[in-house]
Amino acid sequence: MTDKTRSIDLANISLRDALDLAVLVEEEAKDRYEEFADQMELHHNPEAARFFRFMLAIEAKHESRLAERRRGLFGDEPRSVKREMIFDIEAPEYDEVRANMTVRQALGASLQAETKAFEFFEAAAGMVQMKDVQDIFTELREEEREHQALVRQEIARLPPEGPARDDDDEIVAL
């Protein structure tokens, strides 16, 4: 858990900073899904790309919702939590994807990310001192739990699939 943030004193984090952290977590995940969607498009895997764009939209929605809440409470007060301080809290890991991955595998990558985020917020909720911050982290943790369930449902609804695409015809790189 300590390798997920740098220079953030989670135990003493303020409500404003906790909300900013939450916004950045969603932003990071959104950016990662966008990268993944781009990667899949570049490698001619439209199905996986479509799924990652779908996830991108969801994370973007979460991000704006949280950002709105933050603005409501703290207006335009400057942010002291920065993107550079967090490391893949809800963003799926770069090594979770493959050029020829199936949609099921793409969902698996998402599930892994939601699980990571759940674990992060659970640990964070256990560390913080202030009640209102604890509430926020607990709320975020529960959201991640719901997401996990949703992704699991999606996986269950997928038709059974064959082996991954054979990549013998991949273009010769430069």
Partner: protein, 295 residues
């Protein structure tokens, strides 16, 4: 009220990210490396136009193009000489060099020792994946002995190069290793390497997702990596560092192997000193031929 203790950066990681989309295979270790570089650069805060980022040829050598710095994606194995020329000519620039293990320890292997002893203030990041990925899976200098590849049908007959041990033995004053499995740690060593005055070397174990060994992927790194700091390694002890570096290929150590606590002056500092002393009594350029007059 603030709950952070870091100074606020003028530049953010995203300011160093270009709009070019990486052509790397999805899952490649290099995605994490470039992220770590963005973060290290943001922490240092030099504007992108004051950074020159040189590479050779290979998958990893595409990396300058994914940053907003001035980039030079040169030819195979020659990134180090070009980078040193840039740094000597324009010492005010932040100069980064990146490439793969083939670039650094095979075709360009002869340049590393000299970059070390020349000690210009540049940072060399090698993305070491033990394979030639761009040309589709041939042996690389760091491939383990016995590895089966398309150019070693029956297993390679050669011992692997040990980049860490080589560079330590060449006398480098800053040697570190990282993996994209620990992006925070990687960003930290890259930042420390850039801040170090003089030639610094970071070996990044950056697995090839397409041609690499299944048990050498980022997932495996997460399970096996050991932080040198946690092992209690003293990074000012070169011999201890060399002892640990012997484990290259068997154990994955992350962090700083060696950092000279008393770094010698860089070549740039020595050049500046010489220029100052000698320019004082120099005739103008226009009188450069006077020395040939027979007086």
């Amino acid at each position: 009220m603030t709950t952070t203790n870091a100074p606020l950066p003028t530049y953010q990681a995203k300011d160093y990210k270009s709009e070019l989309k990486p052509i790397w295979c999805p899952g490649c270790g290099d995605f994490g490396v470039v992220q770590a570089i963005y973060r290290a650069l943001a922490a240092i805060g030099r504007p992108p136009h004051e950074i020159a980022f040189v590479s050779g040829i290979g998958c990893s050598s595409r990396i300058p193009g994914y940053t907003t710095a001035y980039g030079f994606n040169s030819v195979h194995g020659r990134a180090l000489p070009i980078a040193q020329g840039i740094k000597v000519a324009s010492p005010e620039l932040l100069v980064l060099v990146a490439g793969g293990d083939g670039d650094g320890f095979s075709i360009g292997g002869g340049h590393v020792a000299h970059a070390v002893r020349r000690n210009t203030d540049i940072t060399y990041i090698v993305m070491d994946n033990q394979i030639y990925g761009l040309t589709k899976g041939q042996l690389s200098p760091t491939s383990p002995k016995g590895l089966h590849t398309v150019t070693s049908e029956y297993g390679s007959l050669e011992e692997a190069v040990n980049p860490l041990l080589y560079v330590l033995a060449y006398g480098a004053n800053f040697v570190a290793q990282g993996t994209p499995a620990d992006m925070a740690g990687l960003a930290e060593v890259i930042e420390a390497a850039i801040r170090f005055p003089g030639f610094s070397f970071v070996n990044v174990q950056s697995p090839c997702v397409t041609f690499g060994e299944d048990d050498q992927q980022v997932k495996n790194h997460r399970a096996t990596m050991q932080s040198l700091a946690k092992l209690g390694h003293d990074p000012t002890d070169r011999l201890a560092a060399m002892g640990l570096a012997q484990k290259y290929g068997k154990e994955l150590h992350t962090g700083v192997f060696y950092k000279n606590p008393d770094p010698p002056p860089t070549m740039n500092a020595l050049i500046k000193e010489r220029q100052q002393v000698l320019s004082e009594k120099a005739p103008p350029r226009s009188r450069i031929f006077d020395r040939f007059l027979q007086t």
